[in-house]
Amino acid sequence: MNEIVEGIRQAIQLIVSLNPEVLDITARSLYISLSATLVASLIAIPIGGFIHFKQFGGKRGLITIIQALYALPTVLVGLLVWLLLSRSGPFGFLQLLFTPTGMIIGQTVLIVPLMIGMTLIALSGVSQTKQDTVISLGATQLQTVITIVKEARFAILGGVILGFGRAISEVGAAMIIGGNIKGYTRVLTTAIALETSIGDLPLAIALGIILLLIALIVTALLFLVQER
């Protein structure tokens, strides 16, 4: 019990004193997950828009598959991307395994289905009447799509924030693809896993508190966005 209280005390000290290692890990975590969120947005929002606005065979089935992938296990994504990026894999020549870029790819793969799904939900939240109104006002197809996406922007942003939340809190893909290399691919989640197992509780708790704060901020942002 004493050990835990002491751990928390030291953890707070680490945060308040702006411990370089804590700051370094936090910054890297934010960099990797924000990058993944950005890349995933650029992929998921247009795909979501395409699925929403186009009529094609198998649309319902495709949406079901996307929804099933929300729950994609992170270690599975880690394994998949590891296989693709490993020396003998098809993209081995890029030498991205155990690099931050590799981790960004992994997290992107992880959150793209969720963000496509959220984009679809956001767009179907815009009523058919609204879409008809826009068309009747003389919009071209492209103008219609842009206007409807703008109408749904806060709901879409909600999906983006949700995606970021999943990226920054996952540990499986980051561990497998990044390898938890100190000062290079070590992020909040992988560091907590390691420090806990080797018994450096203050550092693990400090990083845990920071991760919790980020999660809280994300949730608060999501709430604010959805209030709009």
């Binding site: 068309i135 006002l137 071209t140 103008q143």
Partner: protein, 362 residues
């Protein structure tokens, strides 16, 4: 300028429009009147090319628009504007809402700003530019929707039940505005409504839409007083619809035998012809026995068998050999001492009766 040529529209197995043909003249106010689900909205959506008909042609300024490609369609559609029954405000300010049609047309910012203020003035919402659209009341929002539609200076304005969800004051404002638009800009206005009286107030011509077909097209006077068939008559509130046979005809004054009762009517139909007669319930008057010398040719005594109060009016059903429905003011109802089960004298003019030859299909 807009012509429907045998247009059929099916949604899945449902026939929404069954062989509809009509044409709308440039500069008129043309109204589709009909009950909910009769196909009015679909007619407007077809004109705006939001739907493609299952078969038939739709000509706009001579072009068959059912075959147009997207790009050409947009060019035609940009000469029209549609206001939907449910106004859908887009996010943002009133200004952004009204400006959007002009932005789609790549109009420059100065011109947009000028035209937005102009349109807001036309709908009586000067200075509303910076308000958030979603905070407006239903009536205000519908006016913004109209401003949004007219700011692009369309040749044709389509209004789908523009006052269906509004209170009487807002309705009056919108109706006034519609009349103004026609007068000031000569816009062709096509609107749908289920409100007979609104149709009468606004329209140059009315098309009665019943169950996916056009029952009759004409001026409000024609529709209200000379309905062509039972369905139209019902729709426009003609309550007395009776079948009979013409027994005599003397210089346009026909005697018609309806169930043994002789009714005089102005009509050229010759004796022996089976007919249906239509009469508006407002055209029947009641009087105290021997109190007036009416020029009306039809005088009957009957028993009141039903009394339904309708605000300031009362609807009566009277059995005078034939059952007749009449509407009188609450005041005359009281002054004449009428009541359920009482005998009463009633009269109506021969000219109040519209006679239509009966055919098997009717």
């Amino acid at each position: 300028m807009i012509e429907f040529d045998h247009v059929v529209m099916n949604f899945g197995k449902k026939d929404v429009l069954k062989d509809v043909s009509f044409s709308i003249i440039k500069g008129e106010i043309f109204t589709f009147i009909g009950p909910s689900g009769s196909g009015k909205t679909t007619l407007l959506r077809l004109i705006d090319m939001l739907e493609r008909p299952t078969s038939g042609k739709i000509l706009i300024d001579g072009t068959n628009v059912t075959k147009l490609r997207d790009r050409a369609k947009i060019q035609v559609r940009r000469k029209m504007s549609m206001v939907f029954q449910k106004p859908s405000p887009l996010r943002g300010s009133v200004y952004a809402n009204i400006a959007i049609g002009l932005q789609f047309r790549n109009v420059n910012a100065d011109e947009i700003s000028r035209r937005v203020s102009e349109s807001l003035e036309l709908v009586g919402l000067e200075g509303y530019e910076e308000r958030k659209a979603i905070t407006l009341s239903g009536g205000e929002m519908q006016r913004v929707a109209i401003a949004r539609a007219i700011t692009t200076k369309p040749d044709v304005l389509l209004l789908d039940e523009p006052t269906a969800n509004l209170d009487p004051v807002a309705t009056e404002k919108i109706e006034g505005m519609i009349g103004d638009l026609k007068k000031r800009f000569g816009i062709t206005i096509i609107l749908s409504t289920h409100d007979m009286v609104q149709g009468q107030r606004l329209a140059d011509r009315i098309a009665v839409v019943i169950d996916g077909r056009i029952g009759q097209i004409g001026t409000s006077k024609q529709i209200f007083y000379q309905p062509m068939n039972r369905a139209v008559a019902h729709m426009v509130g003609v309550a007395d619809i009776l079948d009979g046979v013409v027994t005599e005809n003397e210089a346009g004054l026909a005697a018609i035998d309806v169930n043994g009762v002789r009714i005089a009517a102005g009509s050229g139909v010759s004796p022996g012809t089976p007919v249906t007669i239509y009469m508006r319930p407002e055209d029947i008057t009641f009087y105290e026995k021997d109190s007036i010398r009416s020029s009306a040719r039809n005088k009957f005594t009957g028993r009141i068998i039903e009394v339904v109060p309708m605000g300031p009016m009362v609807r009566l059903k009277v059995d005078a050999g034939v059952k007749l429905t009449a509407v009188i003011t609450q005041r005359s109802f009281e002054e004449l001492g009428l009541a359920l089960g009482k005998e009463t004298e009633l009269t109506f003019k021969a000219s109040a009766i519209h006679v239509v030859e009966r055919t098997d299909t009717d």
